[in-house]
C-alpha cells in the first residue's frame, strides 16, 4: 500500500494519446516497453495494447518470477504515470483496500462536540429552537476529513490517471473479489455515507495471480487475460542482457542454456526469469566470466529454492553443462 513515486513527467495532458506514441500499435508498444527495460513478447504487448484501447483491466497469470509485477511497473514508467500498488492477502477487506473512517478521531470529535454543544445551544430559548440550530450545523461526522483513503480510492482519485496494480489477487478471498467487480467494470466505488465516487480518468488496472486458487468467472469476464509463460532461450538472453548490463555475451548464452535445461528436469520449483537474472548478477559479483561446474555448485542456491532440488541437481551439473 504505497504510492511509489515514479515521478510523473511534467506533461499536463491526461490520458494517453492513443494515436501516436508507444500505444499506437503493438510493435510500437514492444519498442516502448523495451526502452524502459521490459522485453515483451508480442502476445504480452497485444494484451496490453487491448487493455489500453478497450479500457479493460488486465489479469496477468504465470508462475512466480516471470515478470508479472514488473510488467505493471514498466507500463507505469512508460506512461509516466504514478503506480499505486495493492498487495492482496487472506483477510484483506474493504477497510484496508478502499477506505476507512478514522475511528479514533471521530470519537475525539464527538467529545469536542459534547463540550461545545452546551455553549452553542445555551442561548436557545426552547427545545425546538435548539434542534433547529443543531440541524443548521454541518454534519461533519461522516465527511472527507475523517476518511482514510486506501489504495483503491487513491487510484480512483488520481485525476491524471494512474496504473493500479492489484498484486496476487488469488490470495484474497471471494467476497473481496466480488467487491472489486464494481471498481473494475465501472471504475467507481460506492461509499454508503458519501455516495458514489467515480474516477475522472480510469486507471489502467493490472491484476496478477499465481493460481493459488481459481478466480471467479465474474472477475475473469471483466478482465483481459494474459498468461506469461517461461521464455524461450533467445528471449531470455535478451532479458538478461537488458537487466544485467555489462554481462558478457558468452556467459549469458551459457547460463541461459543451463537454466533452460534445468527447466526440463522434474523440480519442485523450476527457476523462472527473476532467478536467472539474480544468478547473472551473482556471477558478475563473483567475477565469473564463464560457467564451470565448481562455480555452478557454489551458486546453485541462487536459482534453486528447495533443498531436494539442489540435492537432485548437484550430481548432474557436469552433464547439464555439456548437454548443449
Amino acid at each position: 500500500m504505497t504510492i511509489s513515486s515514479t515521478a510523473p513527467a511534467a506533461n499536463g495532458s491526461s490520458g494517453p494519446n492513443l494515436q501516436e506514441g508507444p500505444f499506437s500499435s503493438v510493435d510500437a508498444l514492444v519498442t516502448g516497453l523495451g526502452s524502459v527495460g521490459y522485453i515483451a513478447s508480442r502476445r504480452i504487448a497485444t494484451a496490453l495494447y487491448m487493455a489500453v484501447h478497450l479500457q479493460k483491466p488486465i489479469l496477468v497469470e504465470g508462475s512466480a518470477g516471470v515478470g508479472k509485477t514488473e510488467l505493471a511497473l514498466s507500463t507505469a514508467r512508460l506512461m509516466a504515470k504514478p503506480l499505486i500498488r495493492m498487495q492482496c492477502y487472506e483477510g484483506l477487506d474493504e477497510s484496508k483496500a478502499l477506505y476507512e473512517w478514522k475511528y479514533g478521531k471521530q470519537l475525539l470529535y464527538t467529545q469536542i462536540l459534547k463540550d461545545r454543544m452546551g455553549v452553542a445551544l445555551a442561548d436557545a430559548p426552547d427545545m425546538d429552537a435548539a434542534m433547529d440550530r443543531l440541524h443548521g450545523m454541518g454534519d461533519l461526522f461522516f465527511s472527507e476529513p475523517f476518511l482514510e483513503p486506501r489504495p483503491l480510492m487513491q487510484a480512483l482519485r488520481q485525476d491524471d490517471g494512474c496504473v493500479l496494480l492489484i498484486d496476487e489477487i488469488d490470495k484474497s478471498d471471494e467476497a473481496f473479489e466480488a467487491f472489486l467487480l464494481e471498481v473494475l467494470s465501472a471504475y467507481q466505488v460506492s461509499v454508503p455515507e458519501l455516495g458514489v465516487i467515480v474516477a475522472k480518468t480510469p486507471p489502467l488496472v493490472f491484476l496478477t495471480s499465481n493460481n493459488v486458487r481459481d478466480l471467479g468467472d465474474a472477475l475473469k469476464r471483466r478482465c483481459l487475460h494474459l498468461h506469461i509463460p517461461l521464455p524461450e532461450a533467445a528471449l531470455e538472453e535478451r532479458i538478461v542482457a537488458t537487466r544485467v548490463p555489462g554481462i558478457e555475451a558468452t556467459l549469458t548464452t551459457q547460463l541461459v542454456a543451463f537454466v533452460q535445461s534445468l527447466r526440463t528436469l522434474d523440480l519442485r520449483k523450476a527457476p523462472s526469469i527473476s532467478e536467472t537474472v539474480d544468478w547473472a548478477r551473482a556471477l558478475i559479483l563473483l567475477h565469473a566470466d564463464s560457467l564451470d561446474s565448481a562455480i555452478v555448485r557454489d551458486t546453485l542456491n541462487v536459482i534453486l529454492k528447495f533443498e531436494q532440488d539442489i540435492v537432485a541437481v548437484e550430481p548432474q551439473i557436469v552433464e547439464l553443462l555439456h548437454r548443449r
Binding site: V26, R42, R43, T46, A47, Y49, M50, A51, H53, L54, K56, I58, L59, E61, E90, G91, D93, Y103, G104, L107, L108, D173, E174, A175, R213, D214, D217, K220, R221, C223, L224, H225, L226, H227
Partner: protein
C-alpha cells in the same frame, strides 16, 4: 463477417471456452480495434479477450486454427481450351447452363466451389452437428443443397449423348472430388462443434458408472475417471477453501475495544474486531482394500488426497486382514501406485473387520478426537468373525461424525456374512456409495459440516 465471428464464438463454446454475451460484445469491440488484416494480431487480441485461463488459451488456439483454416480445394484441372464455349458447343449436355455448380466444377474454379459449399452448409445446418452418427446424413444434405442431383442428371444426360463421354468423365471426376471435400468439411465441423460435447457426455456417464462393476473398470476409463475425481475434488476445494476465509471478516467488537481503551483513559486507540472461529476438517479414512472394494477405495483416497488444500489433516488406513497406516505409502507412490503397494503388504488375507478395528483401537485411536470425521469404506462382510461392535461404539463416541460408505446397495446389507446392519447403529451416516457422483456428494456433505454458516 459478423456472422463468422458469431460462428467462431459458438465453436469456442463447444470447445468449453466460456464466452458470455458480454464477452461476445468485447470480442466485437476487439475486432473493430485491431481489424482483420493481421492474422497474428487478430488471434492474440481475441485470445486476450476471450480465453480466461491457461487451458482455455490452449483450446482457443486449437479452435482458432481449425476454424480459420480452409483447406484449398483440389479439383481436377480445368480442361484445355477447346474450340468454342463448353456450354454452347456440341459436346455440352443440356443442363450445364442452368447449374452454376457444374460450370464452376468444369472450370476448376475452386474458390467459387468453396463459396458455394459454405453457403450450402449454412442452409443444410451442418454447424448444428452434435453426434458423429450425423456425419453421413449431413454430408448428404450438404451435397443436396449444393445441387449434386443436378450434376448427376447432367452426367447421365451426357452419357446418353453421342460424344458426351469426355464431358461426363470430367464432371464425374469433379463430382468425386466434391464429395470427398464435403466429407472433410463435415468432419471438420464435427471436430469443432461436437467432439467436445461427446467427451462431456462420456464423463457424465463415467460419474454414474458402478465402481465395483463386474470385470472391474476399463483401463481407458480409469485414466479419465482419475482426472474426473481430481477435477471434482478441485471444485470442492475451491468452494470450501473460500468459505473458510469468512473467519476473518467481522464487525467492531465493542466489548473488547472498550476494555482495551481502559488503559488509555477511555480513548479507543486500539480497535478490536469480532472473529469467527472455523474448524478445518480433519478426516480419518479407513478403507477396506479387499478385491470387491479396492476400486472404490482408490477413488476415495484420490478424492481425499486431492482435497489437501481444504482438509487440514488426513490420516488414511487400509486393511484387509490387518490394518496399516497408508499415509507414507500414499506420499511415496501417489494414489495410483499406492493401492498396489498396500495390496502387496497386506493383501491376500481374509477380510476381518474385528481384527482391523482392534488394530486401529490399539495403535491409532488417539488420532480420533471431537474434531475428526471418520470415513469408513467397506462392504461390512466380516467372514463370520467377531465384528467388535464395542470398538465401533468407542470410535463413534470419540469422533465428531462416523460415516460409513458401502459399495453394496442397501438391500444386501443384512445378507450372508454382512454385518453392515449391526455397524450401522454406530454410525452417524451410512450410505451406499458406488459411483463417483455419490462419492462427490458425500464428501461435500462432510466438508459442509465444518464450514461456517
Amino acid at each position: 463477417m459478423q456472422h463468422t465471428l458469431e460462428e467462431f464464438l459458438r465453436a469456442l463454446r463447444a470447445a468449453d471456452v466460456k464466452v458470455s454475451p458480454a464477452e461476445a460484445i468485447d470480442a466485437a469491440r476487439t475486432v473493430s480495434a485491431v481489424g482483420y488484416a493481421d492474422r497474428e494480431l487478430f488471434k492474440d487480441a481475441l485470445c486476450a479477450t476471450l480465453a480466461k485461463s491457461r487451458d482455455e488459451v490452449t483450446r482457443f488456439d486449437e479452435t482458432f486454427e481449425t476454424f480459420f483454416t480452409r483447406a484449398a480445394f483440389t479439383l481436377p484441372p480445368p480442361p484445355e481450351p477447346t474450340d468454342g464455349e463448353p456450354q454452347s458447343g456440341g459436346n455440352s449436355a443440356p443442363g450445364v447452363a442452368e447449374s452454376p455448380l457444374a460450370q464452376s466444377l468444369l472450370a476448376g474454379d475452386a474458390t467459387a466451389v468453396a463459396q458455394a459449399m459454405e453457403e450450402a452448409a449454412a442452409r443444410a445446418g451442418v454447424a448444428e452437428i452434435r453426434l458423429s452418427t450425423q456425419k453421413s446424413r449431413l454430408t448428404r444434405r450438404l451435397l443436396d443443397e449444393m445441387g449434386l442431383a443436378q450434376i448427376e442428371q447432367i452426367i447421365a444426360n451426357a452419357r446418353r449423348m453421342p460424344g458426351g463421354d469426355g464431358l461426363a468423365d470430367r464432371l464425374d471426376a469433379a463430382r468425386r472430388a466434391l464429395v470427398a471435400e464435403a466429407q472433410t468439411y463435415v468432419e471438420r465441423q464435427h471436430a469443432l462443434y461436437a467432439a467436445g460435447s461427446g467427451k462431456a457426455l462420456r464423463e457424465e456417464m463415467l460419474a454414474k458408472k458402478a465402481l465395483n462393476a463386474d470385470g472391474g473398470i476399463d483401463p481407458v476409463d480409469l485414466i479419465m475417471m482419475q482426472a474426473l475425481v481430481k477435477r471434482m475434488a478441485k471444485r470442492l476445494a475451491d468452494r470450501y477453501s473460500r468459505r473458510r476465509h469468512t473467519a476473518n471478516r467481522g464487525h467492531l467488537d465493542v466489548r473488547k475495544t472498550l476494555r482495551k481503551s481502559m488503559a488509555h483513559g477511555g480513548v479507543p486507540f486500539e480497535i478490536k474486531w469480532k472473529i469467527k472461529k472455523i474448524d478445518k476438517p480433519s478426516i480419518v479414512a479407513i478403507c477396506d482394500v479387499s478385491k470387491s472394494v479396492a476400486a472404490a477405495a482408490q477413488f476415495l483416497l484420490t478424492f481425499l488426497y486431492s482435497l489437501n488444500e481444504v482438509v487440514d489433516r488426513l490420516d488414511a488406513y487400509a486393511f484387509s486382514g490387518r490394518l496399516i497406516p497408508v499415509n507414507a505409502i500414499l506420499d511415496d507412490n501417489g494414489v495410483e501406485g499406492a493401492i498396489l503397494k498396500v495390496l502387496q503388504t497386506i493383501g491376500f488375507q481374509q477380510t476381518d473387520y474385528g481384527k482391523a478395528l482392534e488394530d486401529f483401537a490399539e495403535n491409532h485411536l488417539d488420532r480420533v478426537d471431537r474434531h475428526t470425521t471418520v470415513i469408513i469404506l467397506g462392504d461390512g462382510r466380516s467372514n463370520f468373525a467377531d465384528p467388535r461392535l464395542d470398538i465401533m461404539q468407542l470410535i463413534q463416541q470419540r469422533a465428531r461424525a462416523v460415516i460409513w460408505l458401502n459399495p453394496e446397495p442397501e438391500s444386501y446389507w443384512a445378507q450372508g456374512d454382512s454385518v453392515m446392519h449391526r455397524y450401522q447403529r454406530f454410525t452417524h451416516v451410512a450410505k451406499p456409495c458406488n459411483t463417483l457422483g455419490q462419492l462427490e456428494r458425500i464428501i461435500e456433505d462432510v466438508l459442509r459440516t465444518y464450514s461456517a454458516h
